[in-house]
Symmetry: C2
């Protein structure tokens, strides 16, 4: 075939790609059908159980040259089935309890496909039309469940949301790709509000941080958060022009909650040192242990010193849905801003974060316009968001709220906390495990410590404790990796410094019990498997203990 | 039914939602089937042609209370079909040529569903496994097509990418939700590199911007970009702690390209004023006219003054794929960082931005770690990204590169530019239209100016010109809105200040000809429709002209 005829044939094929769907018996159509019929079955059949080392997987992804010529879709589909899907992670498996992932409602699969087919761009109304009011309503509903009780009556609340939900000038919040962008957005608003225009100074947004701090006479600008705050806060500080050192961490109590007494001492010291305090961040669901700060008490302090109060409820925000459990979040309605990740316990796929603002005028300080879109007075969502072009993911959150209802969420949240308590009891009652942090939301941490070792630890010297804990750290790491690699189940691990261990940092298993399909049997099996691995691997334990005793 | 039995029934239904797929004859299954069989047909049948005012659409999205009880999926599906989909925008229509949207390859629909079903989280390997090397390869391939020629030979290039593509310590770039986050990421890296640790000063990332500028003795920190730069750069400046005033705009020539001579004058002035220059941004595809800055010449200046050179190729980056057209981007390989949006001319759905870094060590200055993930030495992608949890969207870019091949992209890019030239000729040869900006990539701008008015404008006074142009601005705005509302086709509009109009700001139609399904017939029809609207609406024109003449 001549080059020219080849090009013509390619062009025709290309045109087909844009117009003609896959044949019903193609590999891709078959994959799709299997996903539709039985997602869990498809994933179990196609993801290999036993983990391949990453360095081996990488061998299939080495070519750095974009292929010159097209590949048939069916060949491509076979390829990724063997190389990508086989080596991906079954994050929705009921025995994958190591991270904040879960099985998802089935209807989200066809809806996601619809979303992609519609391919709206939420930055502006011209490319999203009804998706814009839908997103505003989604944000409005979550705003109301967080802040609604600030209104004197349901009628006043209705009036309030009628006024603000679809307003062109203000914003109840922003949808974004995830919790990190939500946290950055909230702290961006807080920074610009603190360093607002003042006399001849035209505000940080126009003049920048250097002049702003000079104008206000601050030597330093800080964010206060407990030592359990998420790592994205350090990143936010860096991005926003503070330093990572300007995240001032406040110590926590034995339940991983911020010590409000110390918080206040620190504020007084900072004020004496001429530092500006950009925000106090309350953690509503620490990533590692799932504990929630005493938000009401933090709000008192924030009120007293007139400091922006942000709540990072990326994980815990969904708990607002449960009338039984939302007391854990008491005080959240006093926060100036709240981060919630819908892709965590709102059971929506990856890529759905939100920030809410108590005061719909908050976002005035970050408002921006352009000539071709986002014109003044328009209702384009892009005037108040950090991101620009964005997909219509809010539709999936909207769908879940409609189809499951608040009650449905309540059942899921309550059940996840019940399951966590069940697992905690199981661990606490097993002589070979040590429960390190109790569940408040559906997270807990623990480690494997054979009963003999537990017994020894109770009486031994500090130096022995240190040595044994280091051995146990290695053991925990080993068990966690081995269990992951053998592919039946997955817990994650982290490092904590619990008061019960007199300040020694220990490695622990970390579990998130959010998946409604995780049964009690699975939890028993996970512990059994861990014991099995431990017993097989730590044959030398008796000898070590003997040595320490002698 | 008692409250308890009701709750039990709800719980059972909920469980079903997580485990049992939609029936084959459910509304959602039917929607899905129709999308699979004929997406364009489905959208045409279900999106209403004639536009409803936004205020009316909002009536369907007023409730601010999350529904208490669940809704059947089928009822929900009927609802959104009538209220959401009917009032959404057919962005993939061949006659929707107003924004950077297009028809997409069909195979992306099942692949997107697969992506959602797998629900990987790319922040870390534990929740993404093979998706991590896949994303690194995707970034690597685009890095090589942008920067590959910097390597002395293909063999050296292979060695280079073997070394860096899967390296734990370095990063060739980052995948992100879109061009704005990509631009912020690039400028974040540039800021942290400029204000790096130096002696006792531990760098801006740790100590913040105020101390950094004090240490380096800068009075101001600026970003240089042409007056056609994207609005996200102002936002980036604000977020990163510079002011919006610190975006120093450089004038453009008659082709909307930065004037490099003036750029250099400005740099000298800024240096004299003790300003730090964070970056020069070259625009590779201005949003409004699609023109590309002389990147090679900017690179000379950036080299001379040792300034970070960033190229915002969110739109134009895909042009690298075309051997015929990539000369437009000459010099891009000298940029320190490049933004490319795959959801623009790489034909991937919304939510796929990328930033590339010439030097894989660039991202050292933003590297971060945590205890439970992103541990030092790990290959977790989250150590070098602004975002945290992220979906596996890079798979869709990977798929397009594999299935269409570089040649496939070349055909699409070349064709889009051909189409733009065809349309430009059509406009230029029609006595009732004025071509305002010629296409360089596949964008152009124009306006409707009846031939009699064009004739009059050639000879009239400046004051008359001003008056007529203002009338024409209103007319352009009117035609654009009317055409959009009547739903057959869509062009966007923007405001430009072309030299040919002696500095008067005029309103113009803006077209993006990226959709491979946009035929020449459609372009003829769009002009005809515009003439029709103009003739019907501007009956008073002859009288106005008469009045001006007299």
């Amino acid at each position: 075939m001549s080059e020219k005829r080849f090009a013509a044939a390619t062009e025709q094929n290309l045109f087909r790609i844009f117009t003609i769907p896959e044949e019903a018996d193609s590999t891709l159509a078959r994959i799709e059908q299997e996903i539709s019929n039985n997602l869990d079955g498809f994933l179990r059949d196609n993801i290999v159980a036993v983990e391949k080392p990453l360095s081996e997987i990488e061998q299939d992804f080495l070519d750095s040259v974009i292929p010159e010529h097209p590949q048939f879709v069916s060949d491509f589909a076979d390829d990724i089935l063997a190389k990508l899907i086989a080596q991906s992670v079954h994050t929705s498996s009921p025995s994958f309890i190591g991270h904040m992932t879960s099985a998802l409602p089935y209807f989200l699969l066809p809806l996601s496909k619809l979303m992609v087919g519609l391919n709206q761009n939420l930055v502006k109304i011209e490319t999203s039309k009804a998706f814009t009011p839908l997103e505003r309503q989604t944000i409005g509903m979550l705003h109301r469940i967080a802040y609604g009780e600030l209104q004197a009556s349901p009628q006043q609340a209705d009036d309030y949301y009628n006024r603000y939900m679809h307003s062109a000038e203000t914003s109840l919040g922003a949808f974004c790709s995830g919790g990190t962008v939500a946290n950055i957005s909230a702290l961006w608003v807080a920074r610009n509000a603190l360093l607002r225009p003042d006399g001849a100074f035209r505000g940080v947004a126009k003049e920048g941080l250097f002049r702003a701090m000079t104008h206000y006479g601050y030597q330093r600008l800080v964010i206060l958060v407990s030592e359990r705050g998420h790592y994205s806060l350090g990143k936010s500080a860096d991005v926003l022009g503070l330093g990572r050192d300007d995240i001032v961490t406040v110590p926590t109590d034995e339940n991983n909650k911020i010590r409000v007494d110390v918080l206040e001492d620190i504020i007084l010291q900072l004020k004496a040192d001429n530092a500006g305090i950009l925000a106090i961040v309350g953690v509503a669901g620490t990533t590692e242990t799932g504990n929630v700060d005493p938000l009401d008490k933090i709000a008192d302090v924030a009120d007293k010193y007139k400091i922006h109060f942000h709540v990072d409820a990326a994980w815990g925000g969904a708990t607002l849905m449960s009338e039984t459990q939302r007391k854990i979040l008491r005080g959240i309605e006093r926060a100036d801003s709240i981060t919630i990740d819908a892709h965590k316990q709102m059971y929506v796929p990856m890529g759905a974060g939100m920030v809410l603002f108590k005061d719909p005028h908050s976002t005035d300080v970050i408002e921006h316009h352009a000539e071709y879109i986002l014109r003044k007075g328009s209702k384009d969502l892009g005037t108040h968001t950090l991101e620009g072009s964005r997909p219509g993911t809010s539709m999936l959150v909207y769908a879940c709220m409609k189809v499951m209802g608040r009650k449905g969420y309540e059942i899921l949240i309550d059940r996840s906390i019940d399951t966590a308590h069940y697992f905690a009891n199981l661990i606490a009652n097993d002589p070979d495990f040590e429960l390190v942090s109790k569940p408040e939301l559906c997270l807990l941490t623990y480690r494997y410590v054979p009963s003999a070792v537990q017994e020894y630890l109770r009486h031994c010297s500090d130096e022995d404790k240190r040595v044994i804990n280091e051995l146990l750290n290695d053991l925990t790491k080993f068990i966690q990796k081995k269990q992951r690699e053998s592919g039946k189940s997955f817990v994650s691990r982290t490092r904590l410094t619990p008061q019960a261990h007199s300040g020694q940092t220990i490695t622990v298993f970390r579990c998130v019990l959010a998946n409604p399909l995780t049964t009690r049997d699975i939890l028993h099996e996970i512990l059994e498997e861990q014991k099995e691995i431990a017993r097989e691997s730590w044959r030398s334990l008796p000898a070590i203990l003997e040595k320490l005793r002698s």
